[in-house]
Symmetry: C2
Subunit: 112 residues, 2 copies
């Protein structure tokens, strides 16, 4: 992740949501998708991405499927059932975070 330090803690949410939307993806593909969607504003670093994928897999959130394209190895990741549940939870957390930050930063968003 290369950008502001605000993105700290957002990596898992991003990975889960993209997998939720795209069925299966491999690591490099995720980095490219993020660059594309954010118009180069956010670049996932490999040193953050791969350990995060491995951890999610170890936690049973993702299932891996190794594929070979020519002589090159690809690891396709897919959400498990638990991963899908976790995605929902993470998205709710993000909405809550955004709501709270908006309230903190903009008095207009503070309700009585």
């Amino acid at each position: 992740m290369k950008s502001t330090n605000l993105y700290k803690g957002s990596l898992v949410t991003i990975i889960l949501k993209l997998l939720n939307e795209n069925d299966k993806m491999y690591g490099y593909e995720i980095t490219q998708k993020v660059k594309e969607i954010t118009k180069n504003e956010l670049q996932l670093t490999e040193g953050a991405l791969y350990p995060a994928l491995h951890k999610l897999e170890a936690q049973g959130m993702l299932h891996v499927e190794i594929s070979k394209v020519g002589n090159r190895v690809r690891k396709y990741y897919r959400l498990t059932e638990d991963g899908t549940k976790e995605t929902v939870a993470k998205l709710a957390e993000l909405e809550s975070y955004i709501r709270n930050m908006r309230a903190l930063v903009n008095p207009k968003f503070r309700e009585g």
Copy 2:
């Protein structure tokens, strides 16, 4: 900071914005203000807050003014000029972050 790990990296933004809005505040007051605004959803931990205030002071973003209320010491923090500039920058970063996260998480927010 006690909540999701999404808040990692947001502490400085929160502190600067509250000081920008309230002219001067002391540490404990900041924790209470955050609780109030977020309706207890976000609790700043002292172990995070005080070191952050000290660091911002060392960086020249904040100016301290010690005050005594009864026998109790309070440290009022106030933005310096640099601190005010930094606040503007941090708020812009937050908006950018929210925009990017919305795009990542909600296809509706992706523009061509």
